[in-house]
Structures are given as C-alpha cells and as structure tokens.
C-alpha cells in the first residue's frame, strides 16, 4: 500500500463515520381493511366463476358421455341383432329347406364300405 492510498482510505472511513446516522429509508406501502375485503370478495368471485365454469364444462362433457354411451349401446344392440339374424339364417332347418339344399343330390359316402 502507498502513502497516498492509505490517506485516501482514511478519508473514506472518516466520511462514513461522520455522516447523518438517522435512517431515511422509504416506508412500506399497506392497504386498508376495506381494500382487503374488496380484494378477497373479487378473488372469491373469480374462484367461484372458475368453479362454475368447470362444473358446467364437466356437466357438458357428461352429456357427451351419455350420448356416446347411448350410441355404444345402440351399436351393441344392432350387433346382437345381426348376430341373431345370422344365426337364424344359418340354422340347420333353414339350410335344409333352402333351394340350394333341395338341388343337392344324395350320394353314398365314399369312406364307407357297406
């Protein structure tokens, strides 16, 4: 450290030591009870609105789900009905009485020796 720099430091220390000791820091801003209440009411309303929006949306989805379930049930019923119709069309009695069956010729079984 040089002489001049040590003098400079000493001056800065002096200056700090002899400045006004009273703090002049800015005071924190606060809101009053009325404002607080208004904010709370607004927040509550917003939350309520959000809740109602979601409930409405969910219920709206419920209708869609209900509609899809009905469509699924109808398709299932149609499938069952078609399955039954197919089974009836393929029944042995119907096949035996069909025109195609009537045109069949009876032949002796080839695998049987009588």
């Amino acid at each position: 450290m040089t002489y001049s720099s040590s003098i400079s430091i000493g001056r800065r220390r002096f200056a700090t030591r002899h400045q006004n000791a009273v703090s002049m820091a800015e005071q924190a801003r606060t809101i009053g009870p009325v404002s607080n209440s208004i904010v709370l009411v607004i927040l509550t309303c917003l939350l309520g609105l959000l809740y109602l929006t979601q409930v409405t949306k969910t219920n709206s989805s419920g209708y869609k789900i209900d509609q899809l379930k009905k469509e699924y049930s109808q398709l299932q019923r149609d499938h069952d009905e078609l399955e039954l119709t197919a089974a009836r069309l393929q029944s042995m009695d119907r096949v035996a009485k069909s025109n195609a069956a009537k045109e069949l010729a009876s032949v002796a079984p080839t695998a049987t020796v009588r």
């Binding site: 219920n59 989805s61 209708y63 789900i65 019923r77 089974a87 042995m92 079984p109």
Partner: protein, 560 residues
Amino acid sequence: MFYGLLILIFAVFIVRLFYVQVIKHEDYKQAALSGQLKQYSIPAERGIIEAYSGNSVVPIVLNEEVYTLFADPVYVADKKAVAEQLSKITGDKAKDYLAKMSKDTRYAVLAKKLDNKKKTAIEKLKFKGVGLRTESIRAYPQGDLAAQLLGFVNDGGQGTYGIEQFMDSQLAGTPGELKAITDIRGVPLVASKDNVLKDPVNGQKIRLTIEIGMQKKVEELLKEHLPTVNSKSGSAIVLDPNNGAIKAIANYPSYNPSRYFDVKDAALFTNPAVSSPLEVGSIMKTLTVATGLNSGAIKVNQTFYDPAQFTVDGYTIHDVAEDGGAQTRSISDILKFSLNSGATWIMMQLGGGQINEKARKLDYDYLTNHYFFGQKTGVEQGYEAPGVVPDPSEGFGLNIKYANMAFGQGLTVTPLQMAAAFAATINGGTYYQPHLVDDGKGAASKIKKQNIISPKISAQLRSLHENSVNTHYTSLIHPGYKIGGKTGTAQIAGSNGKYRTDVFNGTFIGYIGGDKPAYVIMIRINEPHVSYFAGAAAAAPLFKKISDMLIDNFSIPRAD
C-alpha cells in the same frame, strides 16, 4: 318506533331463515334429492351358449330384445284411433286394445314381445300415453334343438332346467348400479361427488361339447324310430369315451324352449337322460362281467356249468327258453346270450361260490366307487338324479336283491350314468366325468378316477363285446369298424311293488370305432310294444341307425 319495527321484521326473517336452513336442513335436502337423485339397476347381459358345428363354433342360445307395448289410458285422447293405428302395426285386433284401454287402469299392456321393426314403427307415431318397455329374452336360432339339455329362462330371469339352471350364476352375470344426481331428463350430472357408477358384469359365454349336426340327426332318428316300435318316449346319448364329452343327448317327446310357457306337462322340461333313473336290465351284465374279471373272481377264458337257473333266498332266477337250458357256458356266452343265470353265477363267484355279504360288499364297492352309481355324475344339468344302489348290509332279501342287480334289476341308474361307466370299462379303465361344458382344459382335467378296471381287463371286455356283435347281434356289423354292445330288456316295477309282465323297457349300450372306441351310444326306449325282446327288437335297431349315421358323417377312423 320505525327502527324498532324494522328490527322486528329483520328478526322474523332471521329466525325463519335459521329454521329453514339450519333446523330443517336435512328435510329439505332429502326433498330436493328425491327429485334429483336417480338410482338405476343396470341389467347384466346373460351369457350366450355355443356349440360345435364341425370345426367351427356357432351360437345356439342368444339374447334378443323385445318390447312390451303399454298405454296409460288417462293420457290417450282418442282411444279408438290409437287402437286402430297400433293394431295395424302389431297385427292384433283393435277392439282388444280398445277394451284394454277402456278399463280403469293406468297401465294397460296391449302387446308383448314385439320386435325392433314394430317398435320403431310405433315410436314414429308419437302417441301420447303410449309407451314401450324393453325386455331381453332368450332366442334359439336352431329352434327346438336340444331343448331339454338347454332349459330356458323364466319370466323372472332365472335359468330353469338344463344347462340354464345348472350354470345360472355364471350365465346371469352381476347387475350394475347407477346412483346419480340427474337433470330433468334423467341424464347424470357427472360433477356430483355423490354419484355411484358400478358397471354390470355380463354373464359368461358357455361352450358346449355338443356337436349340433350330430344332435340334430340323433333327435331325428329317435323321433322317427319310436313309432316303428310302438313307443311314446325314449332317449339316446352319444358320448366320447376318451374324454367324457357328451356329443349328443336326445329325448322324445321334447318342447320348443322359446314357447316354454305353452307346455302343459312340466315333466317335459326335464332331461330324462340324466333325471330319470331306471332299472336298465341286461346291459348291466357288461359291468357285472367287468367286476368279475377285474376282481379276479372269474377269468375271461373260463367255462362253467350253467344249470340255467339258480335259487336264491327262495326265489328262482332262470334264463329264457331260447337260451338252450343247462349246459357248459363261457364268459362270452353270458354277454352273447344275455344269461341271467350267468350273471348270478358271477355274483356267486364274488362271494367265493355263493352270494353272501362278501359278494354284496364287493359288488357294492364296484358299483359305487368304480362305476359311481348312486351319486350324481355332476353333469351340468338341472335336476340330475343320483339313482339308487341298495345297501349291501341293511334290509331284507339282500342276496336275491344283489343277484337281480347282476342283470340290471333292483337298482336304478340314469342312462348317462350307465354310458359313463360303460365308457370307462372300454377305454382302458379311466372314468371321465361326463360333461356338457367345454372348458378348454382338456381330457386330463375330467378324469374322476383312473384304473377303475385294469387296461388288460378293459381290452378283454372290448373283445367280448365285439365278439357278441360279430357272432350274435350281426345286424349291427359295419365292415371296417369295431362295434361292441349289449341289449337289455328291463322289467318295470308296477305301482303294487311287483314287476309288470305286460311291458318292458328296451335298452342298448355299445360303442363304435376303429382301433379304439370313438363313441359310446346309450339307447333307452320306454315301454315299446314289439313282438320280441325290447332290447333286441326296439333299442338295438336305433343303435344301428345312429352308429351308421356317425360312421357315414363324422369321420370315424377305420380299424386297421
């Protein structure tokens, strides 16, 4: 004064609100929910029933939605016009509808079991006060095929008789539940935390071992055959002796399961092949011989002097005149000529030369622990009967009773019990539980008991049975195939406790196959009126028809 009045009014409001919102809170909540909260039971779909058709599987019992047409006459403005319009669609008479709607009721059922086409047409009319209720019923695409085997579902939704009864819990499934707050149309509001949704569990699909083509042909053959032997009823079973699978059970008379409510005689609902035990007659000799051989009491090549009659407990057991009287006989002769004296002789050999407690107990052990008589087989059928095997130690006239049992009188078994036991004696000695449901687990899972007789004795029995056909029941021969069997002409106990002399039941048990038996066939013809023995004249010809049909249509391997 003014302020006082204001405070009083406010106080009244506050007290009232407190009463309504706090004290009566629960009451009003329930009242609100009663209108909004809906509770539904979601019906489970009943499982369908399938069966084999060659290599494929086809449904033979399905579900069908039908509709009940009803009206609330209070809301029907022009009853006559409505009745006329509806009757045009349903095909019923308008005056009947009008009469139903004119009665003092809020629920008049106009028509039942309407199909979807009619339902749609009625809905398009949009009549006020007219509604349609959905109902699920069983549908039978194969008509009345295997009706008694299948059973039906009654109006209460319960499986009744046959497979529907036995497998009811598996077929029915479990209903679901929906408990929800709904809108005015009944649509659930999903946001409600109180909602309960439990999906129904549909009933299981059941696959039968039945081959529908075979079932159809056996039913037809039985129905055609009965009038030719002047019989009104009978049964036929085709069983696979190598795994216990029942391929066909036919009974006549039968009924249409989709019109079960038209049946006047409830006895028609049962499956006689499993629920109606009988004294089977001489086909029991097949098992008596098996018992004698397997127990070591007799040898297959043994001969013995047959006096043609034995006296037991003061009663005389004798053969029929055609059997030729007293002479030396072989074991083969007992089956071939159906010798009652021969069967009695075997019973005597079980006791060391006479029918005694030792013989009775040994025979009883074979009947109940080897052939599983006197107990249900466990086949998947409602109302299966166990049959009766008399106790070997308690009662009177036990020796004559057991002598009679040797040729199939005095004990009762169902045709299915007989078929299953006989199958075990000719398949190498394994008793497979006879079954109608194919659970896909294979033959090994159906083994009830192995070595009920030894494989060696089983082979000897096959040889004896085939010898009977080849030398005695020659009409049953089908070249290229091994066929064995035995007739039975069973006496029928009358209401007075004595055997009737005017009628008999005809039975036949046998098998067909190549080098190993492919099918066991059991025939029962009730009280045929024929000029010869019922077993030979009434039952054996049906065995022949069925065995020919099987050989011609079901690819049975030929004998080498």
